[in-house]
Amino acid sequence: MNLFRSIRWRFQLWYGLLLVLVLCGFGVTAYHLQSAQRVRQLDAELQRRLVVVSGALKGGGPRIPPPQRPGPPPRRFFRLSAEEAALFGEQGNRSYYYMVWLRNGPPLTRSTNAPADLLPPHPEEPSPRQRGPFREVFMNPEPMDCILVGCSTEAEEAELSVLKWRLIAAGATVLLLGLLGGWWLGAHALRPLGQIGAAARKIAEGNLAQRIPGEAAGGELKELVGVLNSTFARLEEAFAQQTRFTSDAAHELRTPVTVLLTEAQSVLNRERSPEEYRQCIETCQRAAQRMRRLIESLLQLARLDAHEADIAQVRFNFGAVCAECVELLQPLARERNVTLAAHLPAIECVGDPERLSQVVVNLVTNAIQHNRAGDEVQVTLMRENGSVVLLVADNGRGIPSDKLPHIFERFYRGDASRSRRTESGGLGLAIARAIVEAHHGEIGATSQIDQGTAMAVRLPAEGVLSVHQVHTVH
């Protein structure tokens, strides 16, 4: 929750900062553009009046008096028509003034509202100029003369100040709205995270069927939700499998315990003949043996699951090992009236001979036990592209295609309790698969009803190490 909140706050902080920067940039630019515009307008006004004033300065000769013409220069005078004079003085909220100096002398004329401390500008000074709260333009019709028109910019400054405050107010409003929107957006964008978190919490509390609602998110989050949901589904499946396995194991143990209890209680009910006691003890022994085999199988699977089993990496003759197993199972085959044939060339393989021989025994036993009298089981070993392939094929009843994918599952029974009396109580094929997988091999089965079943084991001929090397090369 803390992380979630902090993400939201951080998002809000950065968003706010960015917004302030943008608004400031925008406000400052707008203010400057506005003020420059006003100055340009003012300058144009002043320029217009300057032309009027320069036109009002009349008389005098050419600009440069010819030296051959003696005498004082012609007198110059200044006259503004009433219309022209109306351009000066108070104009709306502005007050325009002018001043004219001749020959660096005292002012020839001035408007009444011209500031008293006004001096002719320095010849180098650029026009227009800002002098305190005044904006002024000037020109020199003759080098020594100067005409100046100016006006106070207090009104402009007041207006710009109003503009400034308006901009600040507008900026603040936009910032506030933006922050609110950002807060809402943040909440909206982070809501799926909240939902994901809530779902994950429920799963952590043990409700494995919980999923993140699909409509929680779009875009990138949708992908994440999909990945999480499929992870949760796999987790649930694994958990369910584990629960099923435990319950199956308990179930498998119940039958021999029932036999033990029934037999003991029944026999203790009354006096029995020694022969009856003997039979009872034999029955109890069979039940106990069955429990022992089941417990051993369960332990073996648990070790293989936990990768605790040490899988030896020995180079050995797999063909010879298979032949030994087949020899061992001949009596069982004869008992079931099943022909057991083998084609086992001497093929070398790296792995754990003891465990691989168990794979052979489990597969062949399974084939013998699930067949009818008179059927045949073929055990074949061959080499194929760097792999060793073991085939156990029969021409028996076959396995229905809907059951075929499950036969390597623990305690899976193709038909009710047919395999109840097998050695490992429904775990033989599961153990075979676990061992083959510990060798980085593959196990599979194909079957056709009334045609037979073929189980294939494919092992890397050079053992686990070669697989690792291959993996690292890739």
């Binding site: 119940r254 029932t258 033990l260 029934t262 037999e263 029944s266 009910n269 038909d415 009710a416």
Partner: protein, 216 residues
Amino acid sequence: MRLLLVEDEPDLLRGLARTLREEGYAVDTAEDGETGFYKATNAEYDGIVLDAMLPEMDGWELLRRLRVTHRTPVLMLTARDSTNDRVRGLDLGADDYLVKPFDLPELLARVRALIRRGHQQPRPTLQIGEVEIDSKARIIRRAGTAVALTAREYALVEFLAMHRGEIITRTALYEHLLDENDDSLSNLLDVHVSNIRKKLGHDFIVTRRGHGYCIE
């Protein structure tokens, strides 16, 4: 009382059948669902003890098919004890449900109750005149004193008492008191009846010539 026991684990089947026989029941056995179904539909049983996991046809399927035509009381035995499994069994028409592993005395008590219910006889003891039949202890008292009866004699009295007032044919008695491998009763039925009359009074069992026997 004749029971059918369907169980695929041979050791358990043998032990249970022995115990039930020692309790005076005539017991038929079946090791797979199909045989069980065949027997259940082709003979008159007072109760069926049925394992849920069976080869060929499982116990659930057997029960479902049996219920189409038969009302024989069924006690299901199963190694699954989830509520789902129990509900499923009872919904399919099982009369009782017992989870493995169980204690023999409990199984026997449930079988007794099953049979009583099947004969609409909820009380474990029956009083007929001065004769009292205690089906739990399998003892018959006459005027408060226990009477020594053979197992077969007791079974005969118990069956007739459960159907008090009904005329039970000789065939029905063979059906319910003999298991499939036994035909010893046929010529001995009259001998048993006569022995019972000596012990419990001449009028205790009435013979209806040409029809059968009756306890009134």
